[in-house]
Subunit: 388 residues, 2 copies
């Protein structure tokens, strides 16, 4: 735990099969006008929309809608949402959906009472939030981003071809989130598996950094072990409640700042994955899966002891009589086997990338300076080539 | 993660060598009158008192004192503290000390604006907090109880010879806590080791319950592994910053509700330990250490697979070719070796208990109904006899 840090996470979570009843405790705390934010309408098919609406009505709320939030919410949609929230004089923004809907709702919440253009202010100039913030609540229907309990918000500017990420302070975190594992049962299998690797990647991006013996690393190993086991169960039986609930809870704790404490973090896999996404429009988690092993095999020599520790503590590799390098390699091989077993996409070709795209993807890749190895453009190209 | 639960922990933590500077961010949020609560005065010797007082003055605070909080704060002292807080018209209660000082401050905070006797209301009748609560902040100087980030409060009624425990809701949690690992360097070695086992016991009391494959168990295993490793380092070199900081952080997360989510919990070791304390006045953590192995060896057959898992995942026991029982036993043997190595007290005789006291201790032991085995009075006596 070297270094100085602060920790604060005030989001209240309602977890379990009856979690939605938490709305009855939360809604009375806010004013009459609720902006209900959701995506493409799957919540209307699976009945969640009706349930939420009926609880809102029972609590005497005036409901205004903001539908159609896309998987990568755009700056244009954000501006539209701000206008809708203003017209509604929203006292509460209720996000019902996955990470995108939740990310988007946070971005709207800090822009309603602000005169500047929200994209320019928060995602380009990275300005502080100084205006009044409309409180956000979240009913989660998809798992992976951790947005239900953090300040993260990712908005894409399609004109500028740029995906802008922002991490807001705890005053922007959802005030409450409803986590019912059963709501994730109807997510298509491909999205479920993709979300699982997004979670794994969040943990690994924090874990593979730094040299000290940090409690955060032990917590990360615990989350990884839980995720690995539950992912295998869920891949076989997506309606296994215990597995899906463990995955949901792991996702929340994988990216709510806890396991980053005292760490430098890496996030280069996400940077390469984002660039692949920009060229292929592939699902986020799958882009991470497709580039992870080439990336980790490349940086392994620069953080060898941590990769050996990963092999032993997470994958149960028996280190006896083996070199550190052999142990580390065995760990990544076990990870590869697991990835294939649960059905992850193992190369970017399958995601639509071609050799001709590589130079473009390389130049779109942001290079972080915090992991075990600061990559050169050539190294990024090598990793992408190995990912084809 | 079976079951429905809520999670909310709004305490803001300032961690590290510069953590005390966090007071400059927090103090302006509260009114002028601060009740400074502390114990026997060790903070005057190690300089922490002067540092805190100077920051309070710099922030224009009027400081009122409530000193002399004892290791097991009494109901009488609580009544005195309430009177002092009222006289001070306290806008903030600042606890500077260990778990007792922090526990005590929370009990004062919910009693200042309440007409009933605080012992009767909260620790005897277990009534809800309905009156205004004075906010509490904490500067931690001793590690173990987790009181810096939870709603726990233990008060002892000396007339009634009863130690009353209460867990308040998150509105009673400290608003902020300052965690500087260096402040724990001056704690005597015996207290440090005792605190380490208190932490371990908190984790184990939650871990050894239930049958499902729960993310909480994986997190608990991570905390245990971190604690075991850092305790060995700290036992050899108490001023190893990294080890002490990991221990401090582990203590906070061991008892701030996270790893109890989806669990039934046990707490029988604490019940027996409290009863031993009542008869011997021994240090809390040492009473837990002295009875833990006899207790766990006794209940092991009723939770065998969990004890085998504990052996493998926490103590690195190689399970190959062994029976579950042999693996489980090897784990507890490794735990025993570690306990002796770091210098824990391994029997209640060394704490002042005699065979003549056993019947009294047995009848003072509260029997919980949540662990792997609901004990009979005879079984408690057997465990105590094995602990002599």
């Amino acid at each position: 735990m070297l270094g100085n840090f602060t920790y604060c996470n005030p989001t209240k979570l309602y977890f379990g099969k009856d979690a939605l009843e938490g709305l009855n405790k939360e809604l009375p705390k806010y004013g009459k006008n609720v902006l209900l934010v959701y995506g493409g309408g799957s919540i209307k098919k699976n009945g969640i929309y009706d349930k939420v609406l009926s609880i809102l009505k029972e609590n005497g709320k005036e409901v205004f809608e903001d539908a159609g939030v896309m998987p990568n919410p755009t700056a244009d949609k954000l501006r539209e949402g701000v206008a809708r929230a203003r017209a509604a004089k929203a006292d509460l923004i209720l996000a019902v959906g996955g990470g995108s809907v939740c990310d988007y709702s946070k971005a709207v919440s800090v822009s309603v009472y602000c005169d500047d253009d929200p994209w320019d202010k928060y995602f380009k100039r990275f300005e502080e939030v100084t205006c009044k913030i409309v409180p956000v609540g979240c009913v989660l229907t998809m798992v992976g981003t951790g947005s239900e309990m953090n300040g993260g918000s990712v908005i894409t500017n399609t004109e500028e071809k740029f995906k802008g990420g922002r991490v807001f302070d705890e005053n922007v975190y959802p005030k409450f989130s409803v986590l019912n594992p059963e709501y994730t049962f109807t997510v298509p299998r491909y999205q479920m598996i993709s979300g699982i690797f997004d979670i794994m990647s969040h943990i690994l991006e924090q874990y593979f950094s730094g040299e000290d013996d940090n409690t955060s690393d032990y917590l990360a190993e615990g989350l990884l072990r839980s995720l690995i086991r539950s992912a295998e169960t869920a891949a076989e039986n997506p309606t296994d409640y215990e597995a899906r609930s463990n995955i949901m809870w792991t996702a929340t704790w994988a990216l709510n700042t806890l396991i980053a404490k005292g760490k430098t973090e890496d996030w280069e896999v996400h940077m390469i994955g984002h660039a692949v996404s920009a060229y292929t429009n592939a699902t986020h988690g799958m882009t991470l899966a497709a580039v992870s092993l080439p990336y980790y095999r490349h940086i392994m020599p620069y953080g060898l002891s941590k990769f050996a520790r990963y092999a032993v503590n997470v994958w149960g590799v028996n280190a006896e009589g083996k070199t550190e390098r052999a142990v580390a390699e065995e760990g990544l091989n076990k990870m590869e086997k697991w990835m294939k077993k649960i059905g992850l996409v193992m190369n970017i070709t399958e995601l639509g990338a071609t050799p001709e795209m590589l130079d473009g993807i390389v130049s779109a890749t942001v290079i972080n300076k915090s992991g075990y190895k600061v990559l050169t453009a050539e190294e990024v190209k090598g990793i992408l080539t190995a990912s084809l």
